[in-house]
Amino acid sequence: MILFVEQVLNGLQYGVMLFLLAAGLTLIFGIMGVINLAHGSLYMIGAYAGTYVAAQTGSFWLGVPAALAAAALTGFAIEALVVRRLYARDHLDQVLATFGLILTFNQSIILLFGRQPLFTQLPAGLDGSVMLLPGLPYPTYRLLMIAVGLLVAVGLYFLINRTRIGMLVRAGATNREMVRALGVDIRLLYTLVFGLGALLAGLAGFMAAPILAVQVGMGEQILLATFVVVVIGGVGSIRGAFVAGILLGLVDTLLRAFLPSLLRQVMPGSEADALGIGIASMGIYLLMAIVLLVRPKGLFGATA
């Protein structure tokens, strides 16, 4: 039982990370109609910039603004120099352009920081564990990640539902042409949305840095799962990204944790382990296929 609670927490933590990445991607996708493969690069840039500043200054917390700023500025630059020229174009041109960006960013990071993964450190006071229940110690830092993820979710909820910008964003996700026709400065809105998405990706990257490896190509490792979240949740829906992120985090974690031992009840141990983890690896894709077959627009997709 305690093991189950712990695995649920793990799933939750993975889920909020996916949400942070997917939130930006789903907005860019839904409002601007842009498939941004380079979203993972923004995650990587956040991780590198934050880690570098944290190491130079000796303060983990100074890394946060650095990561956010670097990712947001890169996002603005991508939007102004590349993506803006591709709004009117086919999705496929965007795929090719942002694929080119991935190659460019990865190699630029190698030129700047070398090929070796960077050293990262947890901030003092967060490197231990908290006893949540008797017999259930849980890493403090992971609890912080869950908290930050939930805070961002609440913040985005207010931003989208209670502010003028949020209203435009919602309108844009439902009917892009109409918003443009109403004389809204769509260019500014696009830039803001892209910057916000980049910022969130940078935040996710820096938060993940102390528990993962800060290395070239780290963005592509999580890119596919992020796209899966966006599509399951419904393109353009922040709420969908949140629900799908948590769902995916839980499904992935719980399958990996418990499927092998469940299978071991009915077949020999080593075969059960291999098959179990094999199915668990396919798990998120299986989930996506099922969701899309039942609800082709995703869980919270616009019906239009």
Partner: protein, 385 residues
């Protein structure tokens, strides 16, 4: 008059092709993407050995030609083709990954060229698939993990949890570990591209084993070790690792989260032999801001092996002589005693290391004891040459 002299000296040079043309060594390796540092280490270790001899190996002038395979088997094959058929290269090396080797090595040996592996030693080329033109300087993949099994046994553990990714190399790793360990092993397989190991940490705690063995090279290994510490397991359950999961670059990236871990290796930076000391010193002088890993050492040893052969043959024109000279392994390996088994894979010693806090709390690996003496690999018997 002057031009006549130039022409004469040109003619003289052409008459002595051995002097004019350095022997080219073709290096196909992985430099891009997350595992790029592995190829970089191998390349730089090899170049270091060449530089230390003033651009020569075994008294013969050599040039290292390097190309990135991007971890794509097709690209590796393409580069090999170009090296052999356009540049006339007869001596190739450098491949990091088993799947690139699988596509590239058969083509090289079928062309009558020689391939010397500085890293990958997959089983499908070690047993029935062995070839007289194929040498491995590093290790056969299974041997890495057998050493860890031997270590866990020697340290007195009886109940292990073994974790590895759910692909062939991962399964071989656990099998190799279990073969020498002999105790009870709980297997946990992880996903191929997994970077968050929180679910496994909970399983390790629940398993109640007295030792953990895990095989996750590169970035996955970094994430695993950090999360092991964060989960409060470091110090609670001891861990034994094989060398790809605990190289010096990984140590630098995880910092204090590595202190107290046990590693197994065929070479460590503190080895007390002249060859190793010379290499460590030269590396520190040339690349002060990068640690020397076992990959760099493997590149260096590969170059020294080539040097020993070139010193006997004087060049690569006679492939039969070159092959025979290589097979003798007549060089001072930085790891100490070294020879080739019947499948031309290494027969060597394996050592236990412990990670301790060094200068400024930085983790360093210290050699503790010899685990296995002069062992080859389990596939050698299947090799018919």
């Amino acid at each position: 008059m002057k031009s006549l002299l130039t022409a004469a000296s040109l003619l003289a040079l052409m008459a002595l092709p051995g002097l004019a043309e350095p022997v080219k060594i073709g290096m196909i390796t992985t430099l891009s993407g997350p595992p790029g540092y592995l190829g970089e280490q191998i390349r730089d270790g090899m170049q270091l050995a060449i530089d230390m001899e003033g651009g020569k190996l075994g008294g013969v002038e050599v040039a290292l030609v390097v190309e990135d395979d991007g971890l794509k088997p097709g690209n590796g094959l393409q580069i090999a083709d170009k090296f052999m058929n356009e540049d006339g290269i007869k001596l190739l090396t450098g491949i990091v990954f088993s799947n690139v080797a699988g596509a590239t090595v058969p083509e090289i040996v079928d062309n009558g060229a020689i391939y010397i592996s500085p890293n990958a030693g997959p089983s499908n080329l070690a047993g029935a698939g062995c070839n007289p033109n194929y040498f491995v300087v590093s290790w056969q993949n299974d041997a890495l993990h057998e050493a860890s099994g031997a270590a866990a046994k020697k340290l007195g553990y009886t109940k292990a949890v073994a974790l590895a990714p759910n692909y062939q190399a991962g399964k071989d790793a656990i099998a190799g570990f279990a073969r020498e360990f002999g105790g009870e092993v709980t297997e946990i397989y992880t996903a191929l591209d997994q970077t968050d190991f929180a679910p496994e940490m909970a399983q390790i705690r629940a398993a109640g084993a007295d030792v953990v063995f895990q095989f996750h090279p590169g970035g996955q290994g970094i994430a695993f070790l950090k999360q092991y510490q964060q989960a409060g397991l470091l110090g609670a359950v001891p861990m034994v690792l094989s060398e790809p999961s605990l190289d010096a670059v990984i140590l630098n990236a995880v910092g204090e989260a590595a202190i107290g871990l046990r590693g197994t290796t065929h070479w460590n930076h503190d080895f007390d032999n002249a060859a190793s000391k010379a290499m460590v010193e030269a590396w520190a002088a040339k690349y002060p801001d990068r640690p020397l890993t076992t990959y760099g050492q493997q590149g260096y040893d590969t170059a020294r092996l080539i040097a020993s052969a070139l010193a006997k043959t004087g060049g690569v024109d006679d492939i039969d002589a070159l092959r025979a000279a290589l097979r003798e392994a007549d060089f001072e390996s930085t790891r100490g005693a070294f020879s080739f088994g019947p499948n031309q894979h290494p027969v060597q010693d394996w050592f236990l290391t412990e990670i301790v806090a060094g200068d400024g709390g930085k983790p360093v690996a210290v050699t503790r004891e010899k685990l296995r003496e002069q062992v080859g690999d389990v596939y050698a018997a299947e090799c018919k040459m």
